[in-house]
Amino acid sequence: MSTINEALGAFRAIVGQEFARADVATLSNYCWNGGVGAVPGPKFKAWPAAVVMPQSTEEVAAVVKACVRFGLNYRAVSTGNGAMYVNQKPGGIVIDLARMNRIVKIDPLNQMAVIEPYATAGRLQAAAMRHGLTCHIIGAGPGHSPLASATSMLGIGITGASTGQNARNLLALEWVTPEGEIVRIGSDGADNWFSEEGPGIGFRGMVRGYVGAHGALGVFTRIGYKLYPWTGGPKLQKTGVFPQTGWPIGENFRFYAPVWDTAEQQAAATFRLNQAGVCFAMLRMPPAHVALSLSRDTIDHAQAHRTGTLPEIACGETRFCWQILTMGHSTAQVAFQEKTVRHIVSATGGRFLEVAPEHAEILARGLVTSQYVARVSRIAVAATSYGVAESWNLWPEAVRAAETLVAASRKAGEACTEGTEGHWAWPTESRQLWTESVLSSSPDEKGYAATLSAFIRSIHEMQKNKMGVAAFIAGPVVDLFGQRYSRANSWMRRIKVRFDPGNHADDTFYIPSKQSIVSKLWPVISKILFTRFGEKLLAGAMRGAAKATFQGKSARPGGAP
């Protein structure tokens, strides 16, 4: 305890008395394991020893050095969307970056911004729109941190057709290494945030891959970040009444809801739409989630189901549907886009759904702001699977695989995913398939066990059926499945050991410092686990994890002032 007290004193000397705290009320905010991203473990999973709130990069570096000096584990958090981003190791130090919230600069001519960790996507978007620009917003919604997403997470979002993905939206970055050195990656100099490359080696690739290191390789404190064109005016206007808020679709924009009979037809159309490059946003979500997005609340949603008054776009028959938003810069371009979309839909056997204007406005607003999680996650526990980033050739197979998974869970009385599968999909950079299947289950032990089990099975299916490389693997799961990805897990461990020899930066969602027995035996275990007999073993193991989540307790390390 004296170590903690001493450390707390050191932290207070760096950031001030007020911004280094160890009281229960403060600490409890950083260990609540619930909602989106909840991981197996008790509700108050891991009590930190202290929370430190630095205001500058230099303070972050000093705090990290203090953690290293006192032998403490630390974890940085910015906006913290969900439970997996809070403290994970009992007695660790949380470095809360909330005071580093500046949009340092918007550079309209070069379509970029310079931002700090707690500048949210919503704020950035509002600021960018005043300059005729917008930003990529990931599925988590406008409350997320683009810096955290771009440097440390997966970073993929709805408007990917025109705004890419955050892993590729990163320009220069400022990195506080696991041992507290301040290092600039890419272009150097106070006002030079325009490039993430060089000199020489693309070092950024060591600290941020297809997914980020989730805080295990230090702290990122400032980045250059790409912005994208926006012709919808300096302020996003509103229609409707909260929560059914819409956006009056601007004159340079068009909203369409084309539908096809099969996934193959939809994929064929998508190839052509991508090639034409006419879409600002394209989103496929399961009809059930369209229904949730359009309904005022859960009662409204249930009533629409009961009375059969769901709009056509929210019905299962129209599941191979795109919500398309086009954006033009001139009247002639808008006309070209309209002609092209209509032609491609017709030529590929599709038709356009009639969407009530107030519904189109709500859905279009969602496409611009990515305000979905609160709507579609409100009635059940949700997890996700089949994070597939590859060719649109794989779309039909991804749908079929998720259907099989959901059907199996439903047969076992576990899943409550409405409809046959839960795929959200869009084309990243108007080129590449992105899809993930949202699995819903009842908010209890049984349901949670089912989603965990389905998640593991989905990665196995991806590997077996050659559906690219799984996106949603982190922590111990990397050791299980990363072995078959050219042994990527062993390289991650080498990097972690090299850059953080004392293992001070929390590795929970990166790679365990030592490979577990289970992962060493995984090549054998997996041969058993994904058989009919093994299914029961897997389900049993996941029930154990779920039980820990719902019944487990975690004592707060006491004593710190």
Binding site: E197, G202, Q463
Partner: protein
């Protein structure tokens, strides 16, 4: 097998390059893996080459004796897919060879400016040579997809989506197209390899994104006496994602691109505006005439805001002809026209900062009036307009060694000056290497860690970068 060094010498050899201990021309990954393992055991350095023919850029060899690993005979094109516009190729495949293979599929390569005939497509992309098509470059990695690499440890590794279990053929049959370059998982191996100048591993094949051959393509020049209005136009074109190939050149550089047997460099240069923006509009398969019409109208409207006008020819040279030339690899180095030699200097900056660098370089070149040099400027927007490659060439009479020496000294001095002013030497070839890393001192220890992880014995391309 001993071999002479001549075939591997760069344009600006220092004279201290060592003869090869042997030259290996492997046919497949197994041979590369075996060679690396042997060289690791013997602590013998390896110098790698993918392109063939005389290099126009760096002095390509080490001052230490090394085994030359020449990949130029690895010329297989494994797959081409028109729907996803991607090909999987070996490192010896050149732009001309790949274009020939792509043509029946309605595709062509994304090209840098005037690649030499022996230029390896993979090497060009790994070296981050800027491509002409700004709109399609979303990220620095583009146009690279997934790849196979043999690290300096001797381990073979598959990057991006190629890391999925199974063989390339199995992946292809399942519908994968290696479109994901990043990863797998928490490390972006391809990004680490890019710009590494072969110091970490040997890429043995890679997926490369290809450009769809336009149904209609129309090219334009916009001339101006100052560069600033062209920068405004260029920025707006990038903002609107209008235009395929696009760049700005001064009259001297543009004349070199336009000149052919029918006219002389000086005649063309004298008649051009001081600055020229070149832009091609490319229409895809759906309603191409509609697309070209609106894009041409929008281009004219954007130019009109600067009181300028796009034209389809300048001084008798058609913009479409220049576009055609840009699609052709030529054994003739256009910058060496009229028997002139040159030194070059390039770095990254932002387009609105370019005039400041240009003024700085012009002042320095003009102040050295006793050694007359032709200054050329090439500005290539990148990453949909987020930054740009700014390149200067200092041309001089090929037969004047004293001037050549002065040009080299001037180029080096200018590089130092531009680096201090914020230019990013992302591709720090000799003689800029030391200077480039001096500006990134905090990063250097981490780069050395990286080198030690991927090439623990330091056998790959010793002496390059900060290793």
């Amino acid at each position: 097998m001993a071999a002479p060094i001549a075939a591997y010498a760069g344009a600006h050899a220092t004279g201290s390059e060592a003869e090869p201990l042997a030259v290996h021309k492997p046919q497949d990954v197994e041979q590369i893996q075996a060679l690396i393992k042997r060289c690791r055991a013997a602590k013998t350095p390896i110098t790698t080459f993918s392109s063939s023919g005389p290099g126009r850029r760096r002095g390509a060899t080490s001052s230490r004796k090394s085994v030359f690993l020449d990949l130029s005979a690895m010329k297989r094109v494994f797959h081409i897919d028109a729907q996803d516009a991607v090909a999987v190729i070996e490192p010896g495949v050149t732009f001309a060879e790949l274009d020939a293979a792509l043509a029946p599929h309605g595709l062509r390569t994304f090209k840098p400016l005037a690649p030499r005939p022996g230029k390896s497509v993979i090497a060009s992309y790994l070296e981050r040579e800027p491509i002409l098509n700004v709109k399609e470059q979303w990220d620095v990695l583009d146009p690279l997809g997934a790849a196979e690499v043999v690290f300096g440890t001797g381990e073979t590794f598959h990057t991006g989506s190629a890391a999925a279990p199974g063989t390339m053929d199995e992946h292809w049959r399942a519908g994968m197209r290696y479109l994901t370059a990043m990863g797998p998982v928490g490390t972006d191996f391809m990004r680490v390899l890019q710009g590494a100048q072969g110091t970490l591993g040997v890429v043995t094949w890679a997926a490369v994104f290809c450009e769809r051959r336009p149904t209609i393509e129309k090219s334009y020049f916009i001339g101006a006496e100052e560069i600033e209005p062209l920068i405004q136009i260029c920025s707006e074109l990038n903002y609107r994602r209008l235009g395929g190939a696009m760049f700005i050149m001064d009259r001297s550089e543009m004349a070199l691109l336009m000149v052919d047997a029918a006219n002389s460099y000086q005649d063309v240069a004298d008649q051009l505006p001081a600055w020229v923006l070149f832009v091609s509009l490319a229409a895809a398969a759906e309603f191409p005439q509609d697309q070209i019409s609106y894009e041409a109208a929008d281009l004219a409207a954007i130019a009109a805001k600067q009181d300028l006008m796009p034209v389809t020819s300048l001084r008798g040279v058609a913009a479409d002809d220049v576009r055609t030339r840009l699609e052709t690899s030529s054994s003739h180095d256009h910058r060496a026209a009229a028997g002139r030699a040159y030194r070059e200097l390039f770095f990254l900056t932002q387009i609105d900062r370019a005039p400041g660098f240009i003024a700085r370089v012009k002042a320095r070149v003009q102040s050295g009036a006793s050694t007359p040099m032709r200054l050329g400027v090439y500005l290539q927007p990148r990453l949909q307009g987020r930054n740009c490659h700014l390149e200067f060439t200092l041309g001089y009479g090929a037969a004047a060694p004293r001037v050549a020496q002065m040009a080299a000294l001037t180029a080096t001095a200018l590089a130092e000056e531009c680096a201090k002013a914020g230019g990013l030497f992302s591709r720090p070839y000799a003689p800029w290497t030391k200077m480039a890393f001096e500006n990134h001192q905090a990063l250097v220890p981490f780069l050395r860690h990286t080198k030690q992880m991927f090439d623990p014995d330091g056998i790959l391309n010793p002496g390059r970068l900060c290793f």
